[in-house]
Structures are given as structure tokens and as C-alpha cells.
Symmetry: C2
């Protein structure tokens, strides 16, 4: 067993056309990036959030079906929308609940959203004045507030492999 | 044990700032893409190939040191250059030899390089009229010509985790 939790480089070497890139198939789909490229124009209403999740989910399922390991990072606040994405995937779906409590998220406030909401410059913030429905039976729950990033990544990899 | 060999979506859900993106840290460094962004202007001489590999290796080591799982896909024909990259990484390095023989690579000819070389439109093609030094003790050897892509990916994941 190799410990991947603290980072690793997997270096593929071989002749031109030997298959290096084919074997290094991992795709990261990030909700914020997807909103730039895949779902531009959608807002944060119930319907637009559903469409956003559905569209990212569909691209993810296409990739996964073709043998790609997809890491999708999307707030996806509604259970129904996530279950629809799971449905598209068949067996190829692992739901990870990044179960950091609201007060810790608001403290971190990576993008300044919580501060903006408090200042009245933003409304409809998930978990504050917009719903977040936690998964009922996710394959993995990661309590990032109770452990280090390395421990979280290790837990994740242990659950996946 | 979950079988990742035929593709999977890992869907991270959670509140804003819960840590979703931090946990989905995988980076793919592709030699061809790197030549556009990281090593533009370098050619295919012995010195330029060394500098190309060294530069990609340095970026990979920075990422790996910060807990990212990096999949690097680079011809990297010289043993010395790959060993230098390994040295930079300390323990965080896995060398994968995509050990497809020359005749199979030339048959696949994904980018038409082998045909161009035969037609005299290109010289210095690795494995044909430029050296390729196979790894002596790679952590993983993948014989893509003797098994399916799914089998290769499975072998790889079994070796890594």
C-alpha cells in the first residue's frame, strides 16, 4: 500500500503513441469553473441550480463512461438533483459529503461570500438563506473540521480503492 | 475494494467553503500541453529535451509537495533526466513505463509522427532516429499491447494504492 495522502507524482514515460496520455485520464470538474464554460447565463434560482447540476452531471457521466476518473466539486444543494446525476451514472458514482459545518465554512469564507451576505450585498447563499439538503446515504463523509487535509485525502482514497 | 478501472465519478457536495475543491486535487501534466505553456521555444536537441523534462518535473514536484496527485505524461527519453526528476521528488515519485513496443506505436501513430518520419518530413523521432532509454527499475510497467485499456488502468491503480 502506497500512501497517496500527502501527494505523489505518477510519471508516465514511453515512446510516442505508446499510450501515456490514455492512461493518465483524470478530469476535475469544478462548479465555479463549469459556470464559466458550461453553464454560463444560469443563475441561482431553484430551476437554474437544477440545470447547472444536471449539465455538469451529464458531462461527468460521459467522461466516466469512457473510463475517465472524474472528480466533480459542485455545491449541488438539492438531494433530487444529485440523485438524478447518480441515476445517469449507474454504478459509476461515488457521492462524497464534505461535511464541514456552517460556522466553520463561514469562518474560512474562501471567496468572501459569507461576509457579502452578512453585509447585505448578496442573498440566496447556500446554507444561510438558501437550502442545503445533506446527502442521506453518501458513500463517503469527510469531516474536514475534525482532521487535517492530509487525513481527509487519506480517508477519501481509502474509501475509493 | 472499488473497481476504478472502467471509470468513476467522485461527486463532492457540501456548503460553500466546506473544502470540496481542496479535496479534489488532481493535476494532469501532459508533455505536449506543457510544450505550449511551460516550455515554449524549446526544441528537441539533447539539451532542450533535458530542460523540458526538468521544467515539467519541477512544476510536478511543487504540486506533489502540496498534496496534489499529479499524473505527468512525458516521453522523457533519457534516464538521467528522469532520475533528476525523481531526485527532486524524494519519496513522492512513481515511474510508470508505458512499455508499448516500437512497431505497435508506429502502427497506432496517434499524431502521424511515425508516418512523417518515414516520409522524410521529420527527424529526431524518439525510438526511431533518436534515443529512448527504457527505465531500469520503474515502479510500474504497463504492457498496453498485451491487454485492454481497462486492464492497463486497473493494473496501474492496483500498483498505486
Amino acid at each position: 500500500m502506497r500512501d497517496l495522502s500527502t501527494g505523489v507524482t505518477v510519471w508516465f514515460t514511453g515512446l510516442p503513441s505508446s499510450g501515456k496520455t490514455t492512461l493518465a485520464r483524470v478530469e476535475v470538474l469544478d462548479g465555479d469553473l463549469a459556470r464559466e464554460h458550461l453553464t454560463k447565463g444560469l443563475g441561482f434560482s431553484r430551476e437554474d441550480r437544477a440545470e447547472n447540476v444536471r449539465r455538469i452531471g451529464w458531462v461527468a457521466s460521459l467522461l466516466a463512461r469512457n473510463g475517465v476518473i472524474v472528480l466533480a466539486s459542485v455545491i449541488s444543494p438539492y438531494r433530487d438533483d444529485r440523485d438524478a446525476v447518480r441515476e445517469m451514472h449507474g454504478e459509476r458514482f461515488v457521492e462524497v459529503h464534505v461535511a464541514t459545518p456552517l460556522d466553520v465554512c463561514a469562518e474560512r469564507d474562501v471567496k468572501g461570500l459569507y461576509a457579502k451576505q452578512r453585509a447585505g450585498e448578496l442573498s440566496g447563499l447556500t446554507g444561510v438563506d438558501d437550502p442545503y439538503e445533506p446527502p442521506l446515504r453518501p458513500e463517503v463523509v469527510v469531516p474536514t473540521h475534525q482532521q487535517s487535509v492530509d487525513e481527509s485525502v487519506e480517508l477519501l482514497w481509502r474509501s475509493l480503492t
